[in-house]
Symmetry: C2
């Protein structure tokens, strides 16, 4: 039996990448209805929010669902770094005439509360980003019957994940949009491209490997398969579907994106992520050495983002996108899923 | 007819990457005899040296040959930047007890003299790195009958090359070892991975595209083909063949390389290149903002490199390698060529 069928019980070897802040059950349902794996990003949801989206999903489609969680450590207070950045951002606050405080949506690591949600809702798949939760929680997720996936950005991380008993490894190439899943040593991301990363992880572990990063059409799916992947995970290309929930600024930026438009930056959240180069990345980054830890930096950027987006500008938004973003087309999630799956021959 | 046959008149769609300072006609002959395209890197040779190697090649194998040239601009004198770096390197000079001056092998841009060599020797293929020579010289190369290739690292560069009339474009992904061929704007290399780069260049130009970067075995060749490449260029994997000419330090480093061992650095030559992380990259880079322009920095590093290598150390050597280096095996160039070609089905 094909790996992805065995592992995920889906018809097509296509996983819709969970994209926190950019989609909800609307996209997940459309992908699932087309035969791929629909994913619900939970890092910015409350337990009740997760339950609500899963209920919607269950009501609309009869298919497995993937709940995705972040596993960063809650940062220690970082008032000094934050005050440096508040000062650095002051000219922008003045320029945009911001006086009120806008609270950023929190990014929560997977915890006791969310673990209970998993035990109650019993998603078929649970995927983790930024490493795994503590083993006590991981074992409860395993006991719930979920297939467990986690992102690796190098061979060493893949080996750690296999040793921890994950069922599949998402090999995230440097092409990928959004946050790098690097967890073994966040400071020394080797930024391995998918061409190098996929076969080296495939050779190093026995569990199925899911290719992520730089895949946006049937050609990418075929190439990932040739390199030994058991399935693929596609993110950026789904952002252009009407089922995604991104700002108008983000949608416009994606429509105009070029091959060389993206950079890895840490000045939007405090952690390395790939997005379309915008004003804040240009003027303060794209990489700064003194950023407050993830996700704290996002709290002081939030008021700027909010005001700018209200004016139709993405100057302070995380315009997450991978290097293959320009291969994307506006199309329904069903069409995109079927197009990509046609490459798996 | 298959693209690579039409373009290059070779049996197998495998181009051995020209690797200046790391190989000569020995490797090129072995690859050519196996049915791939053998390449002679000429950037560090005199015109007489080029003639000598081509004569050897012609005497030993009946096959097309590729002469490769750099097209950087000769740098303006940069005494100030050089003296900063001489000072920065002083502790290393003292540590290695270097008093004498060792001259680095020059890296020459393609010029009038080399153009005459091409006209005399009539190589079947001429490939350029760091852009193209001035059009006056390029037209003489074209008139010689050579198939002209040049490296691009983004779509914009590929379009410039197509407009200049090259016959094929080498799409160099960020995975690739050695110098990045970026020429349109050396400061803003978007470091596109092969997964994203190949299909976007294929979509943007009409000429055949040769995939380079991260390819080390049959899987990589199959993946490059799936992404639309007309042939592949393989470098790092050939370094482990007995036919290459690398230092013992370099060979040992390649035998021990891991997926995450390489970084892009500019502290070895003044230009961005990917190599195995070593002492000089760690301690002075891997990227420094104030480097003397390529290739001047190499002249002040050369004495350190030379002394360290004599002691069996690669601490100051350019240990060029791509991100897929760990997929390489010690094998003959013929075996490697045939193994890789088996992926083109």
């Amino acid at each position: 039996m094909a790996h992805w069928l065995q592992l995920l019980n889906i018809e097509l070897p296509i996983i819709q990448a969970p994209m926190a802040g950019a989609q909800d059950e609307e996209l997940a349902c459309a992908v699932a209805a087309a035969g791929g794996l629909g994913s619900l990003p939970c890092a910015m949801l409350s337990p009740a929010g997760v339950a609500e989206q899963v209920a919607q999903f269950r009501a609309r489609v009869r298919a497995p669902v993937n709940l995705n969680f972040f596993c960063h450590h809650d940062p220690a207070p970082a008032e000094q770094a934050l005050s440096v950045w508040r000062k650095r951002l002051e000219p922008y606050y003045r320029e945009l005439q911001i006086t009120d405080d806008i609270q950023a949506a929190a990014r929560r690591p997977f915890d006791e509360d969310m673990c209970r949600v998993v035990e109650q809702l019993r998603p078929e798949v649970v995927s983790f980003h930024f490493g795994l939760p503590e083993s006590r929680l991981l074992e409860r997720v395993r006991a719930s019957g979920a297939t467990i996936l986690c992102t690796a950005t190098c061979v060493g991380e893949a080996q750690l994940l296999e040793a921890a008993g994950v069922h599949g490894i998402i090999a995230q190439g440097a092409e990928a949009g959004g946050h790098r899943g690097t967890f073994s040593s966040a400071d020394t991301d080797a930024e391995l491209g998918s061409f190098a990363l996929i076969p080296q992880i495939v050779d190093a572990v026995r569990v199925p490997v899911i290719a992520a990063g730089g895949i946006a059409d049937a050609r990418g799916v075929a190439a990932a398969r040739a390199l030994g992947a058991s399935a693929v995970q596609i993110g950026t290309a789904y952002l252009r579907c009407p089922e995604s929930r991104i700002s108008e600024a983000h949608r416009r930026a994606l429509a105009a994106v070029r091959d060389d438009s993206t950079r890895v930056t840490n000045v939007l959240t405090g952690r390395r992520a790939r997005g379309i180069l915008n004003r804040v990345m240009r003027e303060l980054g794209p990489i700064a050495e003194d950023v407050p830890p993830f996700p704290l930096l996002a709290t002081v950027i939030a008021p700027l983002r909010s005001r700018a987006e209200a004016n139709g500008s993405g100057d302070f938004s995380p315009l997450w996108a991978g290097q293959a973003a320009a291969l994307g087309r506006p199309s329904s999630a069903r069409e995109l899923t079927e197009l990509c799956a046609s490459g798996w021959r």
